[in-house]
């Protein structure tokens, strides 16, 4: 049976003993605990019907986050507090619930508990919940209302204090790493879960289990279970390693720990690079950014992850660690080929190093997708270009969605550097792009569209620098 996972559910301690470590919080709530208010709409973190709030101790204070319970593994909740829709309005309707009723914010009602929880997150100043309503609710799909009544309800929300669970959580705090094992009767494997408490312990555990899957926010690995139905054997949760959750200023830039979640890096990165911030606000949703990590977005090697092209263009470097050995490589060298990264067994991403902007550089990111919010990019292009006296002195350009990996546009860069920043140069650089990439067609976009827009993004970089008076971006122009 092993140890029990313990967490607070709506203020009361719940013990899950003998639980499959890859059982999701949603399955646990609905199936084991019979809290059926939280719904399964997609089981992949895209619809938000399963939204709950999770509180965790950060130092001595509790921070709250709305997350998708469908892709949170139960052991990830150990020592944390969960508030589900059943935790609201026990005695009388919570103001958020009353506002939803008053504004006719529910029709079929299935997405409603998730929306109520996202709105409640806004009331208690949960992470990322202070954004414009559109952005805050991008991870809560509703098929009935058209959203207007929900937006109206959201606009009435008054701030309130979240339940004070700091002492209860402190009492649940572990001194030793959580370690679980579970014999999966269906897959016929024994599944193990380790949650080390320090980077050293993580390095040691991973070295001992180099075939393990490293889990951070589970916004990707959750789907390996719920969608791909992979019978995972060994998982190592890095979510308990506080050292990996820090952002520190180092010489000429930032050191972002591999466990830093998007939401916790957003403000800092947006301060340095406003376009990067704008892109990150569209990456996933509030719930995804509250769980997912920048390190995970890199380590999973996805060809369509949005952070890698931006970070490659910025000249970011990666700190890789295996046992007690560390090495630092340019981020673009990490991605070798589709599904293949420069990472040895037992080696993990410890941090990413992001340089500060060069004084004369212009940095732009364009994320193209079918839907503006919460959609995986068809193409993501990032442009870090320095121009001195109308001559391009350096250019780092990288794309996602154009190849099997996030990749620099080397030929395009060469066509720019040393040339005058003008229409003719841009024309030549766009032509050169054809030599950099041979994109594919898939459900998101055709190869032709990808190739065309990759070039048009560069054209737009030029237009925006040459004609700052023009409106060139739909969302900004749409909101006046």
């Amino acid at each position: 049976m092993g140890e029990a996972v313990r967490f607070l559910l709506n203020g009361e301690v719940v013990e899950a003993r003998g639980v499959d470590p890859t059982r999701t919080l949603l399955e646990h709530l609905r199936g084991d605990l019979r809290r059926t208010g939280t719904k399964e709409g997609c089981a992949e973190g895209d619809c938000g019907s399963c939204t709950v709030l999770v509180g965790e101790l950060e130092g001595e204070a509790v921070s709250w986050r709305a997350v998708n319970s469908c892709i949170q593994f139960v052991p990830m909740l150990d020592g944390k507090a969960v508030i589900s829709v059943e935790g609201l309005g026990k005695d009388q309707p919570h103001p958020v619930q009353a506002a939803m009723v008053e504004h006719h914010g529910s029709q079929c009602g299935f997405c409603t508990p998730g929306i109520v929880m996202s709105l409640y997150g806004r009331a208690v100043a949960a992470k990322g919940a202070n954004a414009p309503v559109d952005e805050m609710l991008a991870g809560n799909l509703c098929r009935c209302t058209g959203y207007g009544p929900i937006i109206a309800a959201a606009e009435t929300i008054e701030p309130e204090a979240a339940p004070d669970v700091a002492d209860q959580l402190a009492a649940l705090r572990r001194d030793e790493a959580l370690s679980l094992d579970f014999a999966d009767p269906v897959a016929g494997v024994t599944r193990r879960w380790f949650a080390p408490l320090s980077a050293d312990e993580l390095a040691e555990t991973y070295a001992a289990h180099p075939d393990a899957v490293v889990v951070a926010g589970a916004t990707d690995i959750g789907l390996w279970v719920t969608k791909l139905r992979k019978p995972l054997k060994t998982l190592i949760d890095i979510g308990r390693v506080d050292e990996l959750k820090t952002i520190t200023r180092e010489d000429g830039g930032l050191r972002i720990g591999a466990g830093v979640r998007y939401v916790d890096a957003l403000e800092t990165l947006a301060g340095l690079y406003p376009d990067l911030g704008a892109m990150m606000r569209r990456l996933g949703s509030t719930q995804v950014r509250n769980s997912g990590t920048i390190g995970g977005n890199i380590a999973n090697g996805s060809p369509i992850g949005d952070m890698p092209p931006a970070l490659i263009a910025l000249g970011a470097r990666l700190v890789l660690r295996r046992w007690n050995e560390r090495r630092i490589i340019p981020l673009e060298d990490f991605f070798i080929a589709y599904g293949k990264q420069d990472r040895a067994p037992g080696e993990f991403v410890e941090a990413v190093l992001v340089p500060e902007p060069a004084p004369s550089a212009m940095f732009k990111v364009f994320k193209l997708s079918k839907r503006f919010d919460q959609d995986i990019s068809a193409v993501c292009g990032a442009f870090n270009i320095q121009i001195v006296d109308e001559v391009v002195t350096s250019a780092r350009i990288a794309y996602g969605g154009m190849a099997g990996t996030p990749k620099r546009a080397v030929a395009c860069e060469e066509a720019l550097v040393g040339r005058l920043w003008n229409r003719a140069t841009i024309h030549a650089a766009v032509e050169a792009l054809a030599g950099d990439f041979t994109p594919l067609s898939d459900a998101r976009a055709s190869a032709a569209y990808r190739a065309l827009t990759a070039g048009n993004m560069l054209r737009k970089v030029f237009i925006e620098s040459a004609r700052p008076d023009l409106e060139t971006r739909v969302p900004e122009a749409a909101h006046g």
Partner: protein, 779 residues
């Protein structure tokens, strides 16, 4: 477990019809206390059913070895076509949808067998162990391939009035065009689900998330080879339907029922999102070609229209859906000479089905595109062209199917909306913006909607209700309509409350169940309130008549002096509280229970000639949309929408406004971001929200002004003169497609007409921009 929600309900003072009351389950929705099928506590021993699926679009099943499936941990039973006690059929019309494939598969995702296991994980893991050997057969995936192979679900249909060919030949001006419109997944947030419990004597009870409990009941009875009376189907609410649970619920209900009866254990079938999207039908995609004649004033003189749709692998409701596309190819416009030819192509893809609008949106998209093309050709404003072609005036009220339009309010709606949204000034401002903005372009379009209300299959236009007054004065209402979020239950409760002048919280609406009201029609075709509201009203009127007769006698006054008031029953000088009245009537042995029935009058239709009066009346609306596009990326945003919609005398303005906004945004999704992509081998590539993109909060138009048309009254004797509102607003979103097409045309100063396909994804918009640039020599 959260509380039942009952204590959250606050007392409501008397408000009957025309009041903006909240959804009947609003408090339960927000508290998580509303119970959907998957929330019902599973009875002990419940089995979880997973359906094995075809990996091929069209193939002969050479062999199917399920021994490893049976041997897999947790498996209790595995069922195939050979294990079905009765008929292997779950189709709504012509017995061509198999519960389990038998010898041949006709689409990817077709159900092959059912595995029932102690957990869904065990069932899925077991199903993956099936060894199926296929022999590929020729497959038609696209409309083009089916056209080439001449595969159809029925003969092509022709609807005509006048001599279109001659009219076209004689037309002063003439043009042709073609475009395509994609399908749409329903993406109800609650997926398909059924929970079947065996009962004594081979009976079975099924909780199903369905819009059509009677059909599920009848099909399950056939599958089990038992009479309909042995099967009870119950549905309290759905987490969205939109047409996707009209016929598509039967497969899962039947699979669960067969497992339950075979094993004697409760059985639940709940596909996950991906399985649901792969296995269930969608809105039909269409290819449309037009040949239109017109004069210099933009008035149509003749029209030949070809509508071709992808029906998928079986008939399902495709005949009626394609008929409705033809019925709406006129929209609000008089077509002096018209021929509409409709091809219903059979493809080896999942069988397409009902979806809000039921073919109407595609037909309407055709004529709206024609209007835009004529406007471009004549240089007239598109709204002016639309107005000139509206029904109205001597000899200009006959539809292509020979129904006379008697309730036309489109001219007023267009005028009022054009004024309130400042159409003309904005059109000028947009032209000025486009002239100075090389990267971003704007487009504006105002389009009307006229949607025919009634099932075009005439016999479906009937409904029943069962109403009980209890001796304590509480009221229990049951009717054949199902609640899927549209607010049907509160509207019908309002109608009953109004009849007795009691507060609506006195009227409890119970789950729809086939043993209370039999032989019901689907809750579909926007008809839910029209039919069930009237049936409930008739039941209430029956009981009222008994109470009036009783009261007149009891309190010694004329029946004419008996009146229901919010304070109670007034009988002469006597004022009797409602609960006292019920108690007294019960003691006097007056029946306090009644059924109610309603059948829509006036309607008839001859499908052989496509003539008649298929619709009792029409619902109207108009919308004006403004969009902004990026000519470098194709990105688009709807920046402002103004809507004026006719819901007749609205039974519940808040509910109706919710239908209008929700319908519009759903239609906007269909026409913009929602793209279904099939691989060449027939696999659906967009089978989850990660790849299939319905509108999210930020896609809502930046400014959205929605108004019910205050003057609206149904000219027909519908319940309290209201109009159906479920489907019509979806088509208001056609204004978005027109606006985008116009923004694209602005790239070449409207000198060329872009026949932009839908959905107008960023890719399609950009490619249309490129095409216009190329044709205009702007490369």
């Amino acid at each position: 477990m959260a509380d039942s929600g009952a204590k959250l309900v606050e007392p409501i003072v008397f408000q009957g019809v025309h009041a903006s009351l909240p959804h009947d389950s609003a408090w339960r929705h927000v508290s998580g206390a509303a119970i959907y099928v998957d929330d019902i506590p599973e009875p002990p021993g419940t089995l979880h059913v997973h359906l094995g699926m075809s990996k091929k679009a069209h193939a002969r099943i050479v062999s199917m070895d399920l021994s490893a499936v049976r041997a897999s941990p947790g498996v209790v039973t595995v069922l195939t076509a050979h294990d079905i006690p009765g008929e292997n059929d779950v189709s709504p019309v012509i017995h061509d949808d198999r519960l389990f494939a038998d010898g041949e598969v006709i689409c990817v995702g077709q159900s092959l067998f059912a595995v029932a296991a102690t957990s869904i994980a065990a069932a899925r893991a077991a199903a993956a162990k099936a060894v199926v050997e296929y022999e590929d057969l020729p497959a038609a995936i696209t409309i083009g391939q089916a056209r080439e192979a001449d595969l159809k679900i029925e003969a092509s249909q022709r609807m005509a009035r006048g001599d279109a060919t001659a009219a076209l030949a004689a037309s002063p001006r003439r043009l042709q065009g073609a475009f395509a419109i994609g399908g749409q997944d329903h993406f109800y947030l609650e997926g398909q689900v059924a929970l079947a419990t065996p009962r004594e004597g081979g009976d079975v009870h099924i909780w199903s998330s369905t819009q059509h409990p009677s059909e599920v009941q009848h099909l399950v009875a056939h599958v089990l080879a038992v009479p309909s009376s042995a099967v009870i189907v119950e549905v309290r609410r759905m987490g969205g339907g939109f047409g996707g649970k009209e016929t598509q619920a039967s497969l899962f209900a039947a699979a669960a029922a067969v497992v339950a009866v075979k094993t004697g254990r409760p059985a639940k079938a709940r596909p996950d999102r991906d399985e649901d999207m792969v296995m269930t039908g969608k809105r039909h995609d269409f290819e449309i070609a037009y040949d239109v004649g017109f004069d210099d004033e933009g008035r149509l003189t003749g029209l030949a229209l070809e509508l071709a749709s992808r029906c998928g692998s079986t008939t399902d409701l495709s005949m009626a859906i394609n008929d409705r596309a033809m019925f709406h190819a006129d929209n609000c416009y008089f077509l002096p000479a018209v021929e509409i030819v409709s091809h219903r192509f059979k493809t080896h893809t999942v069988s397409n089905t009902a979806f809000r609008g039921f073919g109407g949106p595609q037909g309407m998209a055709a004529i709206e595109r024609v209007m835009d093309a004529v406007a471009q050709a004549t240089g007239l404003d598109p709204l002016e062209v639309r107005r000139r072609n509206l029904y109205g005036g001597e000899g200009r009220n006959l539809t292509p199917y020979h129904q006379v339009v008697e309730d036309n309010v489109a001219p007023q709606l267009l005028s009022e909306l054009a004024a309130s949204c400042d159409y003309e000034a904005r059109q000028r401002a947009i032209d000025a913006y486009n002239a100075r903005s090389p990267v971003l372009k704007k487009g504006l379009a105002l389009t009307p909607v006229k949607f025919g209300i009634s099932f075009t299959t005439t016999h479906l236009n009937q409904a029943g209700a069962l109403l009980h007054l209890y001796a304590d004065g509480s009221i229990l209402l049951n009717h054949g309509g199902t609640e899927m979020g549209q607010g049907l239950f509160v509207k019908v409760a309002q109608i009953v409350a109004e009849a007795f002048k009691v507060s609506v919280d006195r009227v409890k609406v119970s789950a729809t169940v086939t043993d209370k009201v039999p032989n019901t029609s689907a809750t579909a075709a926007s008809s839910g309130t029209d039919l069930n509201g009237m049936a409930a009203l008739n039941a209430a009127n029956t009981i009222k008549a008994r109470l009036v007769a009783f009261a007149a006698k009891k309190w010694g006054c004329a029946e004419g002096d008996v009146e229901f008031t919010p304070e109670g029953l007034r009988a002469g000088a006597e004022l009797v509280p409602f609960d006292v009245l019920c108690r007294q009537a019960h003691l006097a042995r007056v029946s306090l229970s009644s059924t109610g029935f309603y059948a829509t009058p006036k309607i008839h239709y001859d499908r052989a000639t496509h003539t008649g009066r298929p619709f009792y009346y029409y619902a109207y609306g108009a919308a004006c949309s403004e969009v902004l596009i990026d000519t470098l990326t194709g990105e688009m945003k709807v920046t402002r929408v103004d809507i004026l919609h006719d819901a007749g005398r609205s039974l519940n303005p808040a509910i109706d406004l919710g239908q209008i906004e929700g319908g519009f945004v759903q239609g906007m999704g269909w026409l913009t971001t929602e793209e279904l992509v099939f691989a060449d081998d027939g696999r659906l590539l967009t089978h989850a929200p990660s790849t299939y993109k319905i509108p999210t909060c930020g896609d809502r138009p930046t400014v959205m002004n929605i108004a019910l048309w205050e003057a609206g009254r149904n000219v027909e004797e519908t319940v309290h003169r209201s109009k159906a509102v479920g489907e019509p607003p979806l088509m208001l979103a056609l204004s978005v497609l027109s606006a985008v097409n116009r923004a694209v045309a602005a790239v070449a100063d409207h000198k060329l007409f872009p026949d932009l396909d839908a959905p107008a994804t960023p890719e399609r918009i950009l490619m249309a921009v490129e095409d216009v640039k190329l044709r205009a020599g702007l490369g």
